[in-house]
Amino acid sequence: MLAIEVKELTKVYDNMIVAVDHISMHVKEGEIFGFLGPNGAGKTTSIKMLSTLLKPTEGFAKVCGFHIEKEPDKVRRCIGIVFQDPALDDQLTGKENLDFHARIYGLSKERRNKRIIEVLKLVGLEDKANELVKNYSGGMKRRLEIARGLMHYPKVLFLDEPTLGLDVQTRRAIWDYILNLNKNKGITIFLTTHYMEEAEYLSDRIAIIDNGRIIVTDTPTNLRSLVGSDVITIGCKNHKNLKAELKKKNWVEKVIHHDSFLEVYVKDGEGRIPEIVEVAKENNVNIESINLRRPNLEDVYLHYIGRMIREDTSETKKIMAQRWLRR
């Protein structure tokens, strides 16, 4: 079964800005799905529509099999959500925030008390439970929010920029919580982010969104291979021979030479390094350094987003919005 199914979902705000423009996608049960895009791409608007906080202008979506407009209460019951900005009551303690959530979701007293202890343990906040949230650090607040999102045993957890503004260690810790939830509790996770590493590290599949449109959806590995091969940089003087020899090999795609180094484009970079060293030895070339760079998601991202920004200005989008609203 699909956890999330989206067809032609669109949101046009009153001021004619098309925030989300006919997006379609699906998220499988048990998957971590990353929604990657720059600020203002339409990520938060999409999450708001999927979590029933905003009504779509066009199109539809189903979450846990329930229609977001026709069965909003059923959708709300089966999802947990951690918003981009903290949504805690800082005049209450951590435990009181969880209790508030449990009650407003209608959990019975026994389940409530048991669950509060469980989720606090899961995010490591047991000993801060009775402290007022205003005394929490940014990372603790985010962890409490994740705990709260899990209180009512959701099937799908929405995380809107879960590590925005957090320091490196806290970010790592939150990533571990997220992976753990997915692996051990089987919770489907839909996360938005504009951090490449985050999307790459966590997601099973990634959709890149820009200007309200999904540009590409695939696994991180496939996305990387879309932009090309690994690059091996060889530092050496007197590289003319080496370049000529390498060009003869059928596994080498391209060789570019610079002043004191060569760039060799190949498919399986790690496996080819020994062979390159071998070729150098045979030709009496002294290698000073060797460096392998694999294309990362950033290259993919720039590849797509860079191109799209030039193609599509906000002015033309506005005109398009007016055009199809008139229809």
């Binding site: 708001k48 979590s51 029933t52 906080l53 905003l54 209460d73 059923k74 709300r76 019951r77 959500i81 918003f83 900005d85 903290p86 949504a87 805690l88 009551d89 800082d90 005049q91 209450l92 009181e96 209790d99 508030f100 959530h101 009650r103 407003i104 979701y105 209608g106 007022l132 709260r148």
Partner: protein
């Protein structure tokens, strides 16, 4: 389903009580302000004798109770702006409960606090020497509840229209203060210029203060059934508008 909504109402209610008890400065301000009004105005104008040989502090007490209830419950309605700014509103709006449930919880929480404050003002006034008819307390409480519902609803309507607190200050000064001043809280309706008399009779709070004064002090300026009918009518319609206004407000 019903029990889930009752849970939600309960937890929205208890949240307001807890927040109130923890905000120490608000607690102090809410006690000190009516105390000052009662003491300084009450004693300052003690030379005045009103119809029926009434002391000014006796006359003033229902007015200050009303003012206190109005401010406190309006604040509960307007605090939705706060929740929106600090993001907590989203947590409430995304929960599987109806908007009406949220409005009811918010209204009951604010009203409870407002009525407790109203009763506290009553105690203060008695300490300061006001002669209060305690047999009229039950009907007076009904009036206080209606005033509270009325004011929470106004607060919710304001909150659904405003983005921040700057605007709220303006509304306080341009709308709420005139509403209180022209409600016969501080001076009787009989001895004012005609134009002011017309405005006061158009002000629903006038009927609320008059009803409260009638039951607590024993002097009605207007027929009691009129007081009651107008206050019920205005409170109910404002509650409907308030619920509707809140329903329309998205998480922003």
């Amino acid at each position: 389903m019903i029990s889930a909504n009752l849970q939600a109402i309960y937890v929205l209610w208890i949240r307001q009580i807890k927040r109130f008890l923890r905000a120490k400065s608000r607690l102090v301000a809410n006690i000190v302000q009516p105390f000052f009004f009662l003491m300084f105005f009450g004693f300052g104008f003690s030379f005045i004798r009103l119809d029926g040989n009434l002391n000014y502090i006796d006359f003033l007490t229902p007015g200050i109770i009303t003012m206190s209830v109005v401010f406190s419950s309006m604040f509960a309605g307007v605090s939705v702006i706060w929740d929106r700014q600090f993001g907590f509103l989203k947590e409430v709006l995304v929960a599987p409960v109806s908007r009406l449930t949220i409005v009811i919880g918010q209204t009951l929480g604010g009203s409870t606090l407002a009525i407790l404050q109203g009763l506290l003002v009553l105690c203060i006034s008695m300490i300061l020497g006001a002669k209060v008819n305690l047999f009229g307390l039950i009907p007076a409480l009904i009036f206080m509840v209606l005033i509270a519902f009325f004011s929470v609803s106004i607060g919710l309507i304001i909150a659904s229209r405003l983005e921040d607190f700057q605007g709220f200050q303006l509304i306080m000064n341009l709308l709420i203060f005139p509403l209180i001043f022209l409600s016969s809280a501080f001076f009787p309706i009989q001895n004012v210029p005609d134009w002011m008399n017309i405005i006061m009779l158009a002000n629903p709070l006038t009927y609320a203060v008059d009803g409260l004064r009638g039951f607590l002090i024993g002097t009605f300026a207007l027929p009691i059934y009129l007081d009651f009918m107008i206050v019920v009518l205005v409170s109910l319609s404002l509650m409907l508008i308030g619920a509707f206004a809140f329903n329309r407000c998205e998480s922003g």
